[in-house]
Subunit: 442 residues, 2 copies
Amino acid sequence: MSALNTDLYELTMAAGYFAARKAADIATFELSVRRLPAARNFLLAAGLEQAVEYLLNLRFTSDEIDYLRSLAQFKDAPPGFFDFLAKLRFTGDLFALPEGTPVFANEPIAIIRAPIVEAQLVETYLLSTFVFQTMIASKAARCALAGDGRPIVEFGSRRAHSPAAGILAGRAAFIGGCSGTSNTEAGMRFGIPVFGTAAHSWTMAFRDEEQSFRALQSLLGESSVFLIDTYDTLEGARLAARLGKPIWGVRLDSGDLVELSKQVRRILDEAGLQHAKIFATSDLDEYRVAELIRAGAPFDAFGVGTQLATSGDAPSLSAVYKLVELKDGAGEIFTAKFSDDKSTLPGAKQIYRYADHDVVALYSECNSDFQGEPLLRPVLIQGQRVEPPVAIDKVKTYAAESIAALPARLRSLEEAEPYPVEVSPRLLAIAQDLRREFQPAR
Amino acid sequence: MSALNTDLYELTMAAGYFAARKAADIATFELSVRRLPAARNFLLAAGLEQAVEYLLNLRFTSDEIDYLRSLAQFKDAPPGFFDFLAKLRFTGDLFALPEGTPVFANEPIAIIRAPIVEAQLVETYLLSTFVFQTMIASKAARCALAGDGRPIVEFGSRRAHSPAAGILAGRAAFIGGCSGTSNTEAGMRFGIPVFGTAAHSWTMAFRDEEQSFRALQSLLGESSVFLIDTYDTLEGARLAARLGKPIWGVRLDSGDLVELSKQVRRILDEAGLQHAKIFATSDLDEYRVAELIRAGAPFDAFGVGTQLATSGDAPSLSAVYKLVELKDGAGEIFTAKFSDDKSTLPGAKQIYRYADHDVVALYSECNSDFQGEPLLRPVLIQGQRVEPPVAIDKVKTYAAESIAALPARLRSLEEAEPYPVEVSPRLLAIAQDLRREFQPAR
């Protein structure tokens, strides 16, 4: 977590603002997602805790400053700039959606108000932090909806985009509705339940399936999950049935999961192991989980890996971080960008949630003018945390309740009629005025 | 980089191997990709340096061991297991493709031979390390091919799967053929050129485009890149033309890039700025870059962000880590998995590269029996590095030369006739024997 982990242009702009004596201008930036990806009816905000940790610890080391000094881009950096950087801390405000809040296109997930150098510098890190976890939590919510009450475990660390991403994927998946993760470090760091028993290599390393199952059983007892498809799935099931209790269940990781699961269920039942569970893995995603359940495959739980930890069908979000207000020597203004295909709405905003729609208004509009629940909350004020972190179990519960409170159609895996997000009349008027001001010819 | 950043089952298996007195068995695992993603004609191996760093530093802290002790899964862990874990280091061998080597389906990218607990434990971290960078380097190679000599800069940190992934994406993209990255920490850590000048917020923060361009020009001089689409692209181009030198060029980030770039070129040329360059960003990928060039858009360089840093069209690889050899108390055997849809070839392997095909053979076969170049090299022997790291510039050059040496059809962005990968007669015979042994009924 280095202050240098940012796009270089944040730093050249910092030097430029400093040179232009604008470093103390107060900028308000808004972090939002332009469009929901295909088939997503909502996103689930996540990543706030890591964003806060980053902002609270923002600083440059002397090695990092030496590195910057060595770059051609800073050969004409203004005098005093590097000393300024060495002392830089985050002293601004952060408003954000609580983690686990459903959020829609163009609604702010977070708002940063700070001296412009600070607010600009943190853009890159905040985007990747909020957006990655939001993306994974959203995908996990879909998997949980598909599971329809059956536990889903996040198993994707090995396919995550770097080992560090795997840890955060485990966290975000838990928030989104998974029962836990296979990532042990995520378990320790975030207090998330961790799951896992054995791989095919375990069975192969014993040279003999029976020996390998017995060894597992003596270690894990009632937590034993036998992976039965290393050689022949039905033979593996018969072996598990013969070994009997203690057993949690068996895992299937290949082949025709519908057909095999039914036969395996029969084998276990006939051996008196009605309580032994069947766990499915094998390139699953929310669609495949729903399909297996629809086909009557008697699975009790699912492990979802690659597709969850990479949000495989939507591996990026169209997230942006846009300047919406500016306070400089000349006063306070709203700002927006009006290029043809990438326009933004000006002003720091609040989201008010009603039963069946949201209204986005200016943050400065009066809460009591709206019946809906205001969603964005102050998290940091002048660089200081104003509320303690929320326990991750509570975040998960809040997410589940919030998803349950959405109109039912949004809980479909298929694209539904979009949730309406209205813009308050005052915000709309300001946007129109601003557009006229900048584009008089249109 | 914690030893705990692994799937829990690696740790339960470790306990089980320890209990079964198999901890000193020597296991050989192979890391490979089952299938090339759609439209990929080759992958470019990357990530080795981070894998080595991880293996050389593998150890559990006492906090981590306390955490494991607290888990239900370890309540019956064998006596001595946690002391064993506390002392655990990586003492094995690593053979790998040099970074920047083109690699094909089912060819080993890396081979680990170590006491089974060590070899098993590192699976998760090694997979995500090798696979993420391999995926990004491969995507970057496609972007570079599309650019056809024009520089491509990696700009995707903000959309990467976590801030840490952004740093590694910058590294892998450079190896794959990019000229540099916007990620400043990647620049410092890996010695990669960094690029970036200013965002739309810069222009907006000055309230006036001309002032903002002048401020940039006085800071960056001949490196100045004016982002001209904040309000009106052609007006922005005229302003840049009026300001004149010093200038590197202008950047377009929205709108009809073909049409706009031609008009902008004319505006710059008419102002005598024939040497000023035009830089394109705006949701690019290798296809869009190729299309812009084909349409005669006069762009001199491209910034590719989201699609590159996430490998958007192929955000995961079907990578596996499979036990291929085992040496235990009873002797030395080849191992393989024969489930219907996920079979593997046994034995530690070497890849021999010829002009127009590869041959995969057993590592133990004699090099001199093959004319092709052996590609896998020893990197760690008994936990010690046997060769110093390769400078990243050399890795990049080696990658470019290796790609240039492939049959021409593989350098297409479209799927070409696959590169032939043959299996040596001896390896094939062993695989067939093993299959018969385990599946006599078929």
